[in-house]
């Protein structure tokens, strides 16, 4: 790819970007949120048309005008937004063969028997056990991601793009994916790999390219780079410490959860958080962390159990009740649940505090603006103005909006569910700083994550969750990656 430029409504996302992949290599494409990685790859896979520039595959110039063109040229992509690439009400098998059904290669009539059999065979080869007749909407996020990966396998690809495939995967599943990538590489296919998890990148890739603000910054063999080089290239500055820790004094218990349960995902959780304390809950994907956070917040209604905030029983019936009692949640799926993408930053930030900024039901424009500018400044949200639509911000800044809307609610307990998912290292650090500051103000923090490193770096106390239960507790400094993983996957008491 050479000289690729692309702008969205006048804003340039790519400036004459250059990019090349060789057959049989794994090429990592890195960059901060909004650097233009996905955009570049969408152009390569035909989802977007470039404003300028050309694409050559095996020396031939290809006019990429639609995904069909890209597929014909052997370019396949596993897109970052999993849900945009799957048809929820169709079966796993059909989604795997989506490309084939969409193309003219299949005959007019479908043979369902064959389709299921082939899909089953394929999944078995990949070592996956997803029922092929199940509907996509019944799958977990990780399973959906695997279906997307399987889809690429059935095609005769020359280039395969993985845009943050590991975000929803557990360590084990990630390893599985890497084995698949190695196999592809061995068969001479060129692979583009995008991830914000730098340790993964260094583990698997042969070459690394870093982008910043739509420009290529460097391309080097992975063996010649250090993590710090990459971070410097990404951010244009270096990052002192990845996990800034602000020392706080830990006060009395502010959140006390007893026997909280719903179905098979959360089976009786007890936990406590004290003022100024950051408690991390770690677990593999599917351990039930998200469910737990939703129960605490009243987003789902618990079967049994109690939640007390600052000594008062919290109403678990609805988020409204939870907020009133002082619990707020920064949810995992920010674009769907955390923010309203089609509304301005201003309106998003004032949503939970409409009552505070209005008198007699009438909103005070000045108070609303005051709130927004305060939050924007305090969190360093990068936006041209408070009136900007939130959907146009980069991922990290969207996450800051999702956090920022709670700042002035006077909540006692902040629950964060994977707040750094898909967020670049710079923004990640910003978020850690915010969390630290909140703790310093005497808030109780419950931090749910599947990134053990984050928990180790950030938390005062780590709870390990497995299969809907809290199975182990570590104090700061006690835990290691290994024993966290041990409890998270085995879910049993320490072997004697």
């Amino acid at each position: 790819m050479s000289g690729i430029s692309k702008s969205f409504s006048g804003v340039k996302a790519l400036h004459e970007a250059e990019f090349a992949v060789r057959g049989g290599e794994i090429h990592a494409l890195l960059g901060a949120n909004g650097a233009g990685k996905s955009t570049l790859m969408k152009i390569l896979s035909g989802a977007y048309e470039a404003d300028e520039g050309s694409i050559r595959i095996e020396g031939r110039e290809i006019g990429m005008r639609s995904p069909a063109d890209a597929k014909a040229a052997g370019v396949h992509c596993v897109y970052q937004e999993v849900d945009t690439s799957l048809v929820p009400q169709l079966s796993v098998a059909e989604n795997i063969f989506l490309d084939r059904i969409a193309s003219k290669k299949t005959g007019a009539w479908l043979n369902w028997g064959n389709l299921y059999a082939e899909a089953e065979k394929l999944l078995a080869e990949l070592g996956l056990s997803i029922p092929v007749r199940k509907k996509i909407e019944e799958l977990t996020l990780a399973e959906k991601q695997m279906v997307l990966i399987a889809r690429v396998m059935v095609e005769e690809a020359k280039i395969v793009i993985f845009d943050e495939p590991t975000a929803p995967l557990s360590t084990e599943e990630t390893e599985h994916l890497f084995r698949i990538m190695d196999k592809l590489k061995a068969s001479g296919i060129g692979i583009v790999f995008i991830s914000h998890r730098l340790h993964e990148v260094f583990r698997i890739s042969d070459t690394i390219t870093v982008m910043r603000d739509g420009r290529m910054i460097l391309t080097e063999p992975a063996s010649r780079l250090e993590t710090s080089d990459v971070i410097h290239a990404m951010l244009g500055r270096s990052l002192e410490d990845e996990y800034p820790k602000i020392e706080t004094t830990i006060g009395e218990t502010v959140l006390s959860v007893k026997d909280l349960a719903l179905g098979k995902r959360v089976r009786g959780v007890d936990l406590e958080v004290r003022r100024g304390e950051i408690v991390a809950v770690v677990g593999l994907v599917g351990a039930g962390k998200t469910e737990l956070s939703r129960l605490l917040f009243g987003a789902d209604v618990a079967e049994r159990g109690t939640v007390e905030v600052a000594g008062k029983r919290s109403d678990l019936g609805s988020p409204t009740g939870a907020i009133e009692s002082g619990i707020v949640l920064v949810p995992e799926e920010r674009r769907k649940e955390g923010i309203l993408v089609k509304e301005s930053v201003l309106h998003n930030l004032s949503l939970p505090i409409l009552r505070q900024i209005s008198s007699w039901g009438f909103l005070s424009g000045s108070r609303e603006k005051g709130n927004a500018s305060g939050v924007i400044e305090r969190l360093g949200i990068k936006t041209p103005s408070a009136g900007q639509l939130t959907g146009y911000l980069s991922g990290g800044n969207q996450q800051k909006v999702a956090i920022g809307k709670w700042l002035n609610t006077n909540a006692d307990v902040f629950v964060f569910d994977e707040p750094t998912k898909g967020v670049d290292v710079g923004a990640k650090r910003d978020i850690f700083v915010i969390i630290g500051e909140l703790a310093a103000q005497g808030k109780g923090i419950l931090y749910l994550t599947c990134e053990f490193a984050e928990a180790l770096g950030l938390a005062d106390r780590i709870l390990v969750m497995c299969d809907g239960r809290i199975v182990k507790q570590f104090l700061r400094g006690e835990a290691t990656q290994e024993n966290l993983l041990y409890f998270a996957s085995a879910g049993q008491e320490e072997p004697a």
């Binding site: 409504s9 987003a299 609805s318 089609k342 509304e343 909103l363």
Partner: protein, 328 residues
């Protein structure tokens, strides 16, 4: 430059279009641009505007209310029977249909919010039910002063003068329904722009789940929106009864599509691209002006529909071509 022009046409296209149409009709026909005719046009759209405001509100919380037409019908006959059959005091005459409209809204929200039937499906069903109910209530008859009842007796009451004034009277030379309409438009506009509840409705419509997780009681908000829609349709029905001096069967059915058309034209106003009260009002005015003016041009009555459709397409095309252009 070109871009600016596009932007401009996007934002003011619909308004300029109305201006041009007004100018054209005024030049073509000396009687068009007279105070009497213009206020009459406004009065003629007042009923549809009320219904359309209801539709706007339900669309704001991202719910389509197909039942407003039959709510108008029901409200019209209920209002008329309050006077003709029961000789109730004027307050009761006015309050009962409003309550009935609120109940229809409640029924809608019950089906949509509690039972979670998709909005179009639920309100279609309610449309049928209410349409049947209002005819069953009057046994299919229209309601008029001293009407003959099926048992051979005459109904005791008649439509009150005071009541008819609501639909036909003037205040300071302005038809009363026009005053009501303008108040309603302004009030609902202020409601959406400046009140907490209005904002809650907009946010709920923007993304229900995100709004819920921000602490809004979205079910309640949606319920209120449907109730408002029902009440506004009821007001439309009351005005209808006051205007025609009787309670007509199925009076509201043709008004549904008309109201929806006004709301949709309103999408184009000021480049909103979404339901908005000012736009709805402008849409209703545009349709009213067209109907009034086209008749003057000796356009055959059956051509009206073509023009109405074409204007709708034009207005929508300008909006959505632009909106789409902005995105890429």
């Amino acid at each position: 430059m070109k871009n600016k022009l596009m932007q401009f046409s996007f934002k003011y296209g619909a308004l300029i279009f109305i201006g041009v149409i007004l100018l054209f009709f005024s030049l073509y026909n000396e009687f068009f641009f007279t105070y009497g005719n213009l206020t009459d046009i406004l009065r003629s759209i007042s009923i549809v505007t009320f219904i359309a405001i209801g539709v706007t509100i339900s669309l704001t919380v991202d719910g389509f209310d197909l039942s407003v037409g039959s709510t108008v019908s029901l409200s019209t006959v209920v209002t008329a029977t309050m006077m003709v059959w029961f000789e109730m005091p004027l307050v009761v005459v006015l309050v009962v249909p409003l309550v009935v409209g609120a109940l229809v809204g409640l029924l809608n929200s019950l089906l949509i919010v509690k039972i979670r039937i998709p909005d179009l499906l639920a309100t279609l069903a309610v449309m049928y039910i209410i349409s049947g109910v209002h005819k069953t209530y009057t046994k299919g008859y229209a309601i008029y002063s001293h009407m003959q009842r099926t048992d051979g007796t005459k109904a005791p009451g008649e439509m009150y003068k005071d009541f008819l004034w609501i639909g036909q009277g003037k205040l300071l030379g302005i038809p009363f329904p026009v005053i009501l309409m303008v108040i309603a438009v302004v009030a609902v506009h202020l409601f959406f722009k400046y009140t907490r509840w209005g904002r809650q409705m907009i946010m709920t419509g923007g993304n229900e789940e995100a709004a819920r997780l921000s602490g809004l009681r979205v079910k309640r908000v949606r319920t209120y929106a449907y109730i408002a829609s029902g009440v506004l349709a009821s007001i439309g029905g009351i005005l209808f009864a006051a205007r025609v001096g009787s309670g007509q069967i199925d009076a509201g059915a043709p008004l549904l599509m008309e109201a929806v058309a006004a709301v949709f034209v309103g999408y184009s106003v000021l480049g909103a691209g979404r339901p908005n009260v000012i736009g709805t009002f402008v849409g209703a005015v545009l349709i009213g002006v067209l109907v009034n003016g086209l008749t003057m041009l000796h356009v055959e009555y059956y051509v009206n529909d073509i023009v109405k459709g074409a204007v709708l397409v034009l207005a929508l095309a300008v909006t959505f071509i632009n909106m789409h252009r902005k995105r890429t």
